[in-house]
């Protein structure tokens, strides 16, 4: 089989079923940088959705996904030193990273997991590393390439970033950024000339994990975020996780109704925001599927 260069990409559940605009815009940015994202057949949910009920079952799902990548690792030549699996969803990022770490450090768990995996002809070997797609952008060569190709300035625009709790915790395993004072997403945003504003409790959870048990509680948390962002005079919100995007964008109108507040804050994925700054059109970035209206805020820049 022909070997091409690229990264394996784990799509998860939420992006293919609800948030394809994140992947469209991520691939658009990846194309500019010469990065190829390859989806293997046979993935399942990463396992995070069932951890509260049965953590071991969650580990089995995660480990099986990693085994699928390991089985196929020779069909792609990864630009990094070892085989990388990229993901755009913070939930998947944390779950797969934690599974990877536990299986590399807990020999008893490794035996139990591989025992179950052997029943379906699979084996976890621990040869894959997990990265959030944005971590690839931290590679010096891609960062410089990105910086050199930015053509549209967002100077004067105040942006509130939602990093998302699952990209920063647990800190020994998930190393995207610091939980208490995250700066990396803000730094990427500010490459475009925009100003990343600080706002109260900006490292707190968007509420998405509570959607199943209590939609009311989830909306209270998301409302708290929107309230603080608006209070800090943010004009636009940038996210890096489909769950945070759902809470702040898709649910914004519902939050405005439930809490009788007007927000009208456009919410973009970081890859959409970067895509615009790279000179791409909103249509190339599937922005018609963003719910909160963005035309008015972005018109002066486009």
């Amino acid at each position: 089989m022909e070997i091409s260069e690229g990264y394996f990409y784990f799509p998860g559940c939420t992006i293919p079923c609800r948030e394809n605009n994140y992947e469209v815009s991520a691939r658009a940015v990846a194309r500019v940088l010469g990065i190829d994202l390859y989806i293997l057949d046979g993935f399942s949910c990463c396992g995070a959705s069932i951890e509260a009920v049965d953590r071991f079952a969650g580990f089995l799902l995660g480990a099986r996904n990693l085994a699928v990548v390991e089985e196929n690792s020779d069909i792609l030549s990864c630009p990094e030193s070892e085989c990388c699996l990229l993901t755009l969803c913070n939930g998947c990022y944390r779950e797969l990273s934690v599974v990877n770490d536990i299986l590399k450090t807990d020999f008893g768990m490794l035996r139990k997991v591989n025992g179950a995996l052997s029943r379906v002809g699979k084996k976890y070997r621990g040869t894959v590393s997990i990265k959030h797609f944005l971590e690839v952008l931290f590679n010096e060569k891609y960062l410089e390439k990105l910086r050199s190709k930015l053509v549209r300035s967002f100077e004067g625009l105040k942006v509130a970033t939602q990093v998302g709790c699952h990209a920063t915790s647990p800190r020994e395993i998930v190393k995207f950024d610091d939980y208490e004072v995250p700066t990396r997403l803000d730094n990427i945003v500010e490459m475009t000339g925009a100003k990343a504003v600080d706002y109260l409790d900006r490292n707190k959870c968007c509420g998405a994990p509570l959607l199943t048990i209590s939609e009311e509680m989830a909306l209270i948390l998301a409302h708290y975020k929107l309230f603080n962002m608006k209070d800090a005079e943010a004009q636009l919100i940038v996210t890096m996780c489909p769950f945070c995007q759902i809470m702040l964008d898709t649910m914004q109108e519902r939050i405005e109704e439930d809490f009788s507040e007007k927000y009208g804050l456009p919410v973009l994925y970081i890859t959409q925001f970067l895509g615009l700054s790279l000179g791409l059109d909103p249509d190339d970035l599937d922005m018609k599927n963003n719910k909160a209206p963005w035309e008015e805020v972005l018109a002066p820049f486009l």
Binding site: N20, V24, A52, F56, R119, C165, H166, P170, C205
Partner: protein, 192 residues
Amino acid sequence: MYFSLRKNESRGDHILSFSSNKESGKRIDFDFINELISRTGGIGVLKCMSCGICSASCIIRKFDEDFNPRKIIIKAILGGKEEILKDEKIWFCATCGLCSERCAKNAKPEEVIIAITNIAAEQGFIPKSIREVCKKVRETGMIYELDDFTNFKRTKVGLPEVKKVDPEELKELLKETKIFANFDEERSEDVV
């Protein structure tokens, strides 16, 4: 020495007190502690000193004082097992991890609470809404419907199709998990 959590009527919360009187208090529930530490993440229950940094940081507790990480853990230690396993509120952990980041003893309260919800699930106490998500994952391998229409929408915007796991393989893989394979056995009432 016996410990008890007495309800303080005027303040509406609990006071931890000691007594040598067997009738007044509960003993440390070593059986439940052993149960907890046998689960991934449960070991933190031995490290907890009930300082409350977790509850002080918890964004859920800020808006719903009935979800209190410190109280859940101290109840687990002091014989409050029956109460917490049946309590719907233990499922309100958002797994945001802030409590674990800040815990003074690195006890990872979030993981202890997840170990507790795992035990509750094993005994049949699972909120109905969460049970539905588990059914979806067990049957299809995903939390949402990922079918031909999903892939049609993807190809329309230039994305490659996603071919998910074979349901038979999934069934075989999850067959012998203690909880997940058995969660819809009617053992106890639904929590919600």
